[in-house]
Amino acid sequence: MAEQMMDTFAGRALSGKLGEPGWLSGLREEALQFFQSAEIPWLEKTDLRRRGFDWLDGPEARVHEAAKALYDQLDGPKALVVDGVLQFVDAPVEVLEAGVIFGDLHACASKHEKIVQKHLFSAVSHTESKWAAMNAAAFRGGVFLYVPEHVVLDRPVVIIRAQTSVHAGAYPRTLVVGDVQSSGAVTEVFFRAPGTPSKEATTSVVEVIAKADAHWKIGIVDEILDGPAHFHERRAVVDKDASVDWVFASTGDGFAWSSLQTVLKGAGARSTMRILGTSVGRMHHDLTAKMVHQGRSTESDIVMHGVLRGRSNAVFRSCTEIVKGAVDAGSEQHDRMIVLDSSARADAIPMLLIDENDVKRCGHAASVGKIDPIQVYYLMSRGIPEKQALKMIIWGYLEQTVAEMPAPEALRDLLVGRVEKGLVG
């Protein structure tokens, strides 16, 4: 069944259907071939034996009320993609007059061919892994944002990606290019549909290209629900003296392997990652936050916070790679996970891969533990009931990441609601 579906669902066929230019059709076809011939990879802490890479193809776009309601509340640049179709996109006139390009990635591949061709697949190659190839061959509802030189966006761009069925809109892709000295923020928020464990796979890719002196903040509000296996690649390439700060939040009960990465390519490039992950039910979340230091005097910081309940399992890796020649690099990692139920399992794995002797600073801290009973006692000793005390301590731990999310209040409230539902319910 999967093979038949593929005819129009991926590769050259899909590209044609979407009216993409020849160069992109060619790359999609290459990706498809790579995907078909690539073995199912072996992953250290994620067992894929009962999972697979079967295609997901679903109904054409329907209405997603919650996503639409959120879209209607936003007043900055915004896009709503439902079931893999870009349904609405809007940006204030002054933003468009400044030369900002925001919209359908497939159409932009022709209309703004030069810039899309140069950057698409430049951070996450179309043949770098089975899932990256799967996405390259099948992505739909792609969104492209280009911000020209010196342009500063004062409100965050919000991209809403929703699905009405687990089979629809399973291959999203976003490309953000911030030109020299541009700055702003983009947040991508997911409304996923629940399903049951299957051999199908959903993959998403975000590529962020920050040119010299550009400063970007990228938010991801993901929801990983039970159903197909999730594979997500979000990656930034940061040029000289530019910065990309990630704020990443994930909630849910599904099965996921995900990667958040910054390549600090230019001298003086900087990046931070603030990560919040909650796991409930039988969730399996294998998440790697990685900083690759290639330029001189590059700096990075990773802060990861996980909270686990039920029979969930989370593996949070923080990884710093300093390649030979990347002198004077500085990096700090902080990875802390709280296990609320003894049936949940957490792994906090710090990794340092250093090939350069001249390192300015490089530190890591990782811990897995329960909530400190003395903190609970202290709050209770002032009259606060135990349940509320636990809630306050957990929120105290997660709140800063939520507060950092570059998003309007409505979106932040949505995230708060999702975290609460999982942890306090």
Partner: protein, 261 residues
């Protein structure tokens, strides 16, 4: 509700199976300030923690009644809402929870659902108390005790006490590590709260604090129980003669509960 009575009867407390408090009797009535003095390791802080319900301390025997109600049957938060307050020697730090939020939650928990204090009124009251205790305004927004100096933590305890207005306030070595100015502020906090409805139990090594908070009763603890009680003159006697004089008088050689504690 004006009459207050905390009765501690035949209290035995153990930690990790080791008995530290060994038969303690004490009654505190509204308007009274009791001071418990004694050398290190005699069970003073254990008494305070056991009264509040610290999870590591186990009450082996005895009872504690607050206006006739069995305190030991209550959970920690119930004890607090019933009117017990412990200013801790080493209060916990909680990242991400601001002092103001913490105090508001605590106050509202005490007032009960439907009787919460309006936010504005709360902040006015907090500002007022902070000013009186000479506490910097930034305290309100700082995370609970995180990165606080020893003295700041102590003042924060007193600030919480003044906001929550407990029936029985237990101050566990609130004076240790405080300079004389901070000590005066702490004393001021206690004296302001002094009323016929409130009782105090002040645990201290030193007589110094009692120059500023004048106790009605002074008790000396050794070997896990009260070995001598008296008026404020007892504190002065101890200041002049030290604990050794009292030990000789009582025929006690080792005042601690267990060597090395």
């Amino acid at each position: 509700m004006s009459e207050l009575k905390l009765e501690i009867q035949g209290l035995h407390v153990a930690i990790d199976g080791k008995e530290i408090v060994k038969g303690l009797d004490l009654t505190i009535c509204g308007g009274e300030i009791h001071a418990i003095m004694g050398p290190n390791g005699t069970g003073k802080s254990t008494l305070a923690s056991a009264l509040m319900g610290h999870p590591r301390y186990e009450v082996v025997r005895g009872q504690v009644l607050l206006n006739g109600e069995n305190v030991l049957d209550m959970s920690v938060d119930e004890r607090a809402r019933a009117g017990l307050f412990l200013a801790m020697q080493y209060p916990a730090e909680v990242s991400g929870v601001s002092n103001a939020n913490f105090m508001r939650q605590a106050l509202n928990a005490k007032l009960g659902e439907g009787h919460e204090m309006p936010v504005l009124k709360f902040h006015r009251q907090l500002q007022d108390r902070m000013k009186k205790l000479n506490v910097d305004e930034s305290f309100a927004d700082r995370y609970l005790n995180e990165g606080f100096s020893g003295g700041e933590k102590k003042r924060n305890e007193i600030l919480q006490m003044s906001m929550l207005e407990p029936k029985v306030a237990i101050l566990d070595e609130i004076d240790s590590g405080l300079d004389i100015d901070a000590l005066k502020i702490v004393a001021e906090g206690v004296n302001t709260l002094r009323s016929p409805e409130t009782g105090f139990l002040i645990i201290t090594h030193y007589q110094r604090l009692l120059n500023y908070i004048v106790p009605d009763h002074v008790h000396v603890m050794m070997q896990g129980r009260i070995v001598k009680s008296g008026g404020r003159e007892l504190a002065e006697y101890l200041e002049a003669h030290g604990y050794d004089g009292l030990k000789a008088e009582l025929g006690i050689e080792d005042e601690t509960v267990e060597v090395g504690i």
